[in-house]
């Protein structure tokens, strides 16, 4: 008997009590199917006052429903000496002798099992909000709910004897750490800061989800895991990521060498190596390993992979050929002197979407996205063979987002390579804290083509809303410069990471910065 239980349940635990209890849970507490829900709604009324609500309880000994607030169940208990009742909303068991809810180990076990069964029946789509709660939903599969950790008796004892605790509050430095520059490695440090502050990735590694299958010590995912341990260790001195550098150079040869590099290239290479080394963690719904290379289910792909839809429309027969390619980042052109930036797509709303401050003439991230998704006339020199016309015709091509990744990384192409010059484009591009990707989705484009030009922003549809959480900036020229980053550790708390120096930054600092790589995280997560 657990300390939170009571001796009065012993009177109940006779004969076929387990089965009886299960039936009560299945029918009246956890409704798995629509049918049981209907039955519950119809039959669960207070036998004395007919109320549906008021904390309805069911007697465990007989078929009696009574409300708690009006003490009808108490009366029944007194009259019939049935000392146990169950709360129909949350399944808690009340003992009238103790006059309190009690927690009996065996009964709780049954309750948990029935609850799981009901959830499994309830099925697939469960929306959830708040990024931090998403951890186990994404990883444990469909129908399994996240349960809080509970200490065992022994653990409780240990914890009581050791009262010193570290708690990550909003004003806590744990999770932040500087990184030593190993010699032109600021590009690596910035990407590491961005990755360690990606909430999903952080949760994955801190809950120890990586099962390594590599024989040697050269798994980059293991090193990443180690990195998170270092960041959350509470150490104040900056970390020296020399092992990480060595591993990256070993696995991505083209990046090796002591010289200044591009942060975006490093990001792609790092994601690629992590993806390759994640083989031990890919699990199908059936629990089997996913051997299909085109449909990898590793954590990197789950977080960073999106689908880009490319529609090629033949100008003659208007037949559309569609392909969907995966992407891990979105590279956006900027207004430079050589390439024409405007005109934008027809029918695009000119108003300020996403609440960006549209200073006269300054480019916004939304402008760049609009340009990215505009229909492009391919010209007479690039005729495509049309399946409908069976001949080479001129066509237009348009890109839209088919599937959005959980973390969207925008790469502003701040370089220009024309015949005459190679230079860095330092145009200020304003980007928002919150971004709505709905206008750039393939589904939006379809509705636009069907004539619904006026697209009202659906406030209740949260699928495509993103929040900024990391910005990587570059100062300098095309040949040489220095990378710094801004990362968001807690809601609305930003920090500037300049190699080994971490300082607090204001949101204004972040939004006024030039911006080279922008990391956005989906605000609301759903099951597939």
């Amino acid at each position: 008997m657990s300390p939170a239980g009571c001796s009065h349940v012993n009177g109940y635990k006779v004969d076929n009590w387990k089965q009886n209890l299960r039936v009560i849970y299945q029918c009246f507490v956890w409704s798995g199917t629509a049918e049981t829900r209907r039955r519950k709604a119809k039959s669960c009324v207070c036998h004395m006052c007919g109320a549906h609500l008021n904390r309805l309880h069911s007697c465990l000994y007989c078929v009696f429903f009574g409300c708690f607030t009006k003490k009808h169940i108490h009366e029944h208990a007194k009259n019939k000496r049935h000392n146990l009742a169950i709360d129909l909303l949350y399944g808690g068991i009340y003992c009238f002798v103790c006059q309190d809810y009690i927690y009996d180990k065996d009964m709780e076990q049954i309750a948990k099992e029935e609850q799981r069964k009901a959830w499994k029946l309830q099925g697939i789509a469960l929306s959830l909000s708040a990024v931090s709660a998403c951890v186990c939903f994404v990883f444990t599969g469909i129908g399994e709910k996240y349960t809080t950790w509970e200490p065992t008796k022994r653990e409780l004892e240990l914890l009581r004897h050791n009262p010193k605790r570290r708690k990550i509050t909003t004003n806590c430095t744990i999770g932040l750490r500087g990184l030593i520059n190993l010699g032109n490695t600021c590009f690596m440090n910035c990407i590491v800061q961005a990755l360690t502050h990606t909430p999903l990735l952080r949760d994955f590694f801190l809950s120890d989800r990586h099962k390594c299958e590599m024989q040697s010590n050269s798994c980059l995912v293991c090193e990443m895991s180690q990195l998170f341990q270092e960041f959350y260790s509470g150490h104040r001195s900056p970390h020296i990521p020399f092992r990480l550098l060595h591993l990256v150079w070993t696995h991505a040869r083209h990046l090796a060498g002591y010289e200044q590099q591009d942060a975006h290239e490093f990001l792609i290479a790092a994601l690629d190596v992590l993806h390759r080394h994640c083989k031990g963690d890919t699990i199908n719904d059936n629990g089997k390993k996913a051997n299909n290379p085109n449909h990898c289910n590793c954590i990197i792909d789950q977080i960073f992979t999106g689908g880009l839809q490319s529609d090629v429309t033949c100008q003659v027969c208007h037949g559309v050929s569609t392909t969907i390619d995966p992407f891990w980042d979105i590279s956006l052109d900027l207004p430079g002197s050589s390439t024409p930036f405007w005109p934008l797509s027809p029918g695009g709303d000119g108003s300020t979407v996403n609440g960006e401050s549209h200073l006269s003439g300054s480019t916004t991230l939304t402008d760049c996205l609009r340009r990215f998704t505009r229909p492009e006339h391919l010209g007479s020199s690039a005729k495509i063979k049309c399946g409908g016309c069976h001949s080479y015709q001129e066509s237009t091509k348009q890109l839209t987002m088919k599937k959005l990744p959980i973390v969207a990384c925008f790469h502003l192409k701040r370089f220009e390579h024309s015949a005459k010059l190679r230079r860095k484009i330092t145009t200020y591009v304003s980007f928002p804290l919150e971004l709505d990707m709905t206008p750039f989705m393939a589904s939006s484009k379809e509705s636009r083509m069907n004539g619904q030009y006026q697209q009202s922003v659906d406030v209740l549809n949260n699928d495509n809303k993103y929040s900024l959480f990391a910005v990587v900036n570059h100062q300098g020229t095309l040949e040489s410069g220095h990378y710094t980053s801004f990362i968001r550790q807690h809601k609305d708390q930003w920090f500037k990471c300049d190699d080994a120096i971490i300082t607090k930054a204001s949101i204004k600092d972040v939004l006024d910065s030039e911006g080279y790589l922008l990391f956005y995280h989906k605000q609301f997560l759903e099951y597939e």
Partner: protein, 342 residues
Amino acid sequence: MKMENMLFSGPDPTKLEGLVHDIYSELVDDACLGLCFEVHRAVKQGYFFLDETDQESMKEFEIVDQPGVDIFGQVYNQWKNKECECPNCKRLIAASRFAPHLEKCLGMGRNSSRIANRRLATNNNVSKSESDQEDNDDLNDNDWSYGAEKKAKKRKSDKNQNSPRRSKSLKHKNGELGSNITSEPYKFSSQYNYNPGVNYETLGPDEVRSLLTTQCGVISEHTKKMCTRPPFPDAGATTVENDSFDIPDTQTLMHRLQWEDSPDISPADSASSKASTNHSDSRKPKKKKPTSGLSSGGVGSLTGGSSSSSSSSSQINVSLANKKKRPKLSAPLIPTIYNELN
């Protein structure tokens, strides 16, 4: 649904609102009840106190927001003496010089293969004068950690005090150096024999070709050593690096670059980079272009790495130091060897 029926049959807005309010407050009540149950259970099971933390710990990890210090309350730039152990050669290297050291250590830098080969060649030659010179070279080598430099300097002063020990300490040191270097991974310069005099007979045609395209290759009649001077006069430094990266064992290179070529979809095949029209080149593995020292070539990239101006000057130091080293090896022309090979 019932609600809609009521709407259509003579709507009574106040009644409707009342119902809506009722439902809403019931939902809120239920949610609060759930929270109460959670807390109640935590208290009863005895783990409610776990959420608390002690004041001391809170203060310890509080974020500091003052000018001149970082969030931990530490002054900037106090991390100059950090060291780390190289996973390759196991030496202790200053952290801020780790990247250039690792580059040389793994044999990837532009001069590393040349230096390595010289060291191998001189390692088994017993002449004292050369080992002296070797010591001096390595003392000037920038990527040794501060600790080691101090040790080396100290040994020098010991040398002067007691002359019979002189040769001993030097030999011992030379031995250390030698062992450090022969250990491993010059994987990419594996075509170089570990024989002191490079014997052209034992090398295969491919190896000889790669050898001769990167270095002068002439073997001195007197010392039997091979000249490692790069083939082209000036822009020499960069073209050497270009070739030495490409030539060794293209097989391993291809294998390592496989993420570019593999049919598996990977982040390298990011469709958006390919889809963009502003690029003049596609994203290929970056080859180092023959440009001046600081740039790292590569299309469509922003290079950045220096934390301060010191790193740029250190690169210049390296190239200057190399220029100093070159004239030391004598290399009289021996046309006969070339004729044979051709």
